[in-house]
């Protein structure tokens, strides 16, 4: 049985990290091959190597049996390899078409032949029922659509080998199953697929074989239909794993956050990004806003925290009207915020760890006297948090945060926000891109916070996180709350239908 791709004994070392160590991966023609592993296990790196973005320090790559050195993505494309990256590689102010043809432009003497391209894209899109509009701007289409653009990129280059890096993280169950069927169709047409995912059920659904990595090392490659999910999970983590989170039933208290008729129009169209949203969050409960990315979660949170200046509606915290408070005033009146984008909002990457830990409190009497910083206190405080929250870094409080891993960056934010014991903790995708250890830990912290009688507003795209953590689920769709559900009496599928807008429930403005 010959392989279309062979990566033999690949080793890749980054400063401080061995991302891959003697990893071997062999891909058969026409198969769907899953690549499983914790965050930081080295999946993306391995694929980046196959795609020519990095050069391996050791090991060889064979395509259709003959050895090759893939020195850039172009070369990879030429070899028929295409990839959908974990962080989409799309130019936001370009149209769908421009993004797709970029790098492989049909042209006459250097002049773009856009019409032809659009036509080709349209037909591809129809063939695979992708429903993309070739002339839409990337910045104006949903994340799901953006991913389809990435897929079209590969099809446009009629690649033989398709790599999907965590494609399902941002999709609804419906979208996921659509994606699955697309993959099946592709593999039927003889295309070979590598699928990176953390989700075993997906692997079970589509994959023929599965290669499992742990801490950069190959564990083994198994036939999916012969291997139980639990087995694979165990291989991935290296120990038995308990799925789900353990937590006591909620002791619900009086409301902390009240949102009434919050509305906000998009500034370049009539479309309402947030439409008459009303809900409340009570002491001792975790309320989760579930929804597909780009349905107004970000705007909603930013309106509550003040990052977006207030438009219409009323926000009260502990019966105090904070609608027109400044960000600072809101923070002080008891809101903690773990932001969606840790690099953009959560951290000053070029400040050291200590500075980032006091980012919300540097002006308090504890850290400043007559405008002069109290360094002794600042660094003492930092050391305490570092030990208390087990934040790993090179030079302790003096580490420049940019050099820390995403996991520890996230821990830094969580520590900073929770230590302030805010009455309302807003956590947006708090575990995005973190390994299970970190995820477990952060989940515990959030639950602990709730058990101390504080309110938690959780925004998450990961359905299992939603199901496991929340005491109440609000589904948001196109800026409206379309359902108010009890996790015990619903399931991922129903949830998915609400999220996709194909089902609407009565919303008790509790």
């Amino acid at each position: 049985m010959e392989y279309i791709i062979e990566m033999l004994n690949i080793t890749k070392v980054f400063p401080g990290v061995i991302a891959n160590e003697k990893v071997t991966l062999q891909l058969r023609k026409g198969e769907i091959h899953a690549l499983l592993g914790e965050n930081g296990a080295g999946k993306s790196t391995l694929m980046s190597i196959l795609f020519g973005m990095y050069q391996p320090d050791e090991g060889i790559i064979k395509v259709k049996g003959n050895e090759v050195v893939i020195n850039d993505p172009n070369h990879a494309n030429a070899l028929g390899i295409g990839m959908v990256h974990q962080h989409f590689k799309l130019v936001h102010n370009f149209t769908v078409t421009e993004n797709i043809i970029l790098g492989k432009e049909d042209n006459k003497l250097g002049f773009l032949k856009t019409k032809a391209a659009i036509h080709k894209i349209q037909s591809l899109s129809d063939k695979y029922k992708l429903k993309v509009a070739p002339n839409a701007l990337i910045s104006e289409i949903s994340v799901g659509m953006q991913q389809r653009v990435e897929i079209l990129k590969m099809l446009y280059r009629d690649s033989e080998i398709l790599i999907f890096d965590e494609p399902t993280a941002v999709l609804t169950p419906q979208e996921i199953s659509e994606l699955m069927s697309i993959m099946k169709q592709l593999s039927k047409e003889g295309k070979s697929i590598i699928l990176i995912t953390h989700k075993l059920n997906e692997i079970k659904k589509v994959a023929d074989r599965c290669t499992i990595l742990r801490k950069g090392k190959l564990v083994s490659t198994v036939n999916v239909n012969e291997t139980a999910s639990e087995k694979m999970a165990e291989m991935m983590v290296g120990r038995k794993v308990v799925f789900g989170v353990v937590k006591q039933p909620a002791k619900i208290g009086d409301p902390v956050l009240k949102v009434e008729n919050l509305s906000m129009a998009s500034n370049n169209s009539e479309k309402m990004l947030i439409n008459k949203v009303s809900f409340s969050v009570n002491r001792g409960e975790i309320v989760c806003i579930a929804g597909i990315e780009g349905n107004g979660q970000t705007e909603l949170v930013h309106l509550i925290t003040g990052l977006i200046p207030h438009k219409q509606g009323k926000i009260t915290l502990n019966n105090k009207d904070i609608t027109n408070y400044s960000i600072r005033e809101k923070t002080l009146s008891g809101i903690g915020h773990i932001p969606e984008d840790r690099h953009k909002h959560g951290l000053v990457l070029d400040y050291n760890l200590a500075y980032n830990l006091i980012l919300q409190t540097y002006f308090t009497a504890r850290f400043q006297k007559r405008g002069l910083l109290k360094f002794k206190n600042i660094y003492q405080f930092a050391r305490d948090l570092i030990t208390q929250y087990d934040i790993r870094s090179g030079q302790g409080p003096y580490t420049i945060v940019r050099s820390m891993s995403g996991g520890n960056q996230q821990k830094t934010i969580v520590a900073r926000e929770i230590i302030r014991e805010p009455d309302l903790l807003i956590a947006v995708q708090p575990t995005r891109g973190l390994d299970v250890g970190a995820i477990e830990y952060i989940h515990q912290q959030i639950i602990k916070h709730r058990d101390e009688g504080k309110a938690v507003l959780l925004v998450s795209l990961e359905l299992d996180e939603v199901m496991n953590l929340s005491d109440r689920i609000l589904v948001i769709y196109e800026g409206e709350i379309v359902a108010d559900l009890d996790p015990k009496s619903t399931n991922e599928n129903e949830l998915g239908l609400y999220m996709a807008g194909s089902k609407r429930g009565e919303v008790g403005a509790s």
């Binding site: 925290t305 990052l307 400044s326 960000i327 600072r328 923070t331 915020h337 932001p339 953009k344 909002h345 959560g346 951290l347 000053v348 990457l349 070029d350 400040y351 500075y355 980012l359 919300q360 540097y362 002006f363 400043q368 405008g371 002069l372 910083l373």
Partner: protein, 369 residues
């Protein structure tokens, strides 16, 4: 020995940078030397020596040249630290200068110390205003500060030309009137230490400015906020910092510093600098940019780079005794700045050196053990 030094360097990023900068400077100088050799083999070496040592003949003069550069360097550097590129230093300097001169010439009823103090303050205020305007435009109208400050440069240029010609004209000498004795910056005994009529209070003020700016940036919550805005406007907003205020304050302080440069240059006797009606931007303004850059926008670094520039500029003046066009100095300064842009290159060299050296260490230890 070398190994020891290298180890010492090795212990800190900062040191590595400083050493690389030093390498860059040396390279720049050598580059200049090469050109000089090409043009005039005979004179090149003694001339080069003069450039390097000439400054020592008159330290007072060096400091005098450096003083305004410290101010404008701080001005540009401070803005850099907060993520703003202020090429408006020339305009802020000139508006400061004209205000100082106006006070110095017209408000003569003030007694000695008060008079020059008021003049200095007004220079600072005028500069601050001139800097604040682009700041406000950026904060509230998203106007790119580079364009705004360029425009402000020309506006002040013509305003100054007007003010000199119509308000403060000294017909006999065809330049601005000399400020009253009571408005001239005092020497405070510095003329005992250095050459008379060179360093004056302006230099002391520059030192004070350095200290204050250093404290603001490194030790205060205000600096904490400004730098945060500079590094990442989003996260500082998230942290409740008023980024608009930050931008405006940064430009205001930046302008104030340049304004003071104006006072430092022009509050002087009839033998010193005077403004003219000719519409030319004052060089010290633009030179603040290289000074800041060579000094890593760090107040202390800026102090040394300003002194350094003053030093080789004076050396270049003395070099004229030889048969070489004085522009060679400008070429040398330019190449120094260019090479300092190639810092990475020199860092690379040094780090390789260090690795090599550490490697040797290991070996030695192994041999010992």
């Amino acid at each position: 020995m070398l190994a020891k030094i290298l180890n010492y360097i090795n212990t800190s990023e900062k040191r590595i940078n400083i050493i690389s900068l030093f390498l860059a400077i040396v390279t720049g100088l050598l580059f200049g030397l090469v050109i000089m050799i090409i043009v005039s083999p005979r004179d090149s070496f003694p001339a080069f020596l003069t450039i390097l040592t000439g400054g020592f003949r008159d330290i007072g003069r060096v400091l005098e040249i450096a003083t305004p550069l410290i101010f404008t360097g701080l001005s540009v550097g401070f803005a850099f630290k907060t993520g703003l590129f202020n090429i408006g230093a020339p305009g802020q300097l000139m508006i400061g200068a004209i205000s100082a001169i106006y006070i110095g010439v017209r408000v003569t009823f003030l007694p000695a110390p008060i008079h020059w103090i008021v003049a200095v303050l007004c220079a600072g205020l005028a500069g601050a205003l001139w800097g604040a305007i682009p700041g406000i435009l950026k904060a509230y109208r998203n106007v790119n500060e580079v364009v705004a400050t360029i425009m402000m440069n020309y506006i002040s240029l013509y305003f100054v030309s007007y003010a000199v010609e119509y308000q403060l004209y000294d017909l006999k000498n065809a330049r601005s009137l000399t400020v009253a004795k009571s408005a001239q910056l005092p020497y405070l005994g510095l003329d005992k230490i250095f050459t008379p009529n060179t360093v004056n209070f302006g230099f002391i003020l520059a030192i004070i400015a350095i200290v204050i700016i250093y404290i603001i940036l490194e030790k205060t919550t205000f600096g904490f906020e400004l730098k945060a805005v500079g590094f990442n406007q989003h996260s500082s907003k998230y942290a409740g910092v008023n980024d608009k205020k930050g931008i405006i304050m940064a430009m205001l302080i930046s302008g104030l510093l340049s304004g003071l440069a104006g006072a430092a240059i022009y509050l002087t006797d009839s033998f010193g600098r005077h403004l003219e009606t000719t519409e030319i931007l004052i060089a010290e303004g633009f030179n603040g940019i290289p000074v800041a850059l060579i000094g890593f926008s760090n107040p202390i670094g800026i102090f040394f780079s300003a002194i350094f520039i003053g030093f080789i500029e004076l050396g270049g003046f003395y070099m004229q005794r030889y048969d070489l066009a004085p522009e060679i100095i400008d070429i040398i300064i330019a190449s120094i700045i260019y090479f300092s842009a190639l810092l990475i290159l020199f860092r690379g060299i040094i780090i390789r050196l260090l690795k090599h050296n550490r490697f040797k260490h290991k070996k030695r230890e192994e041999e010992d053990g």
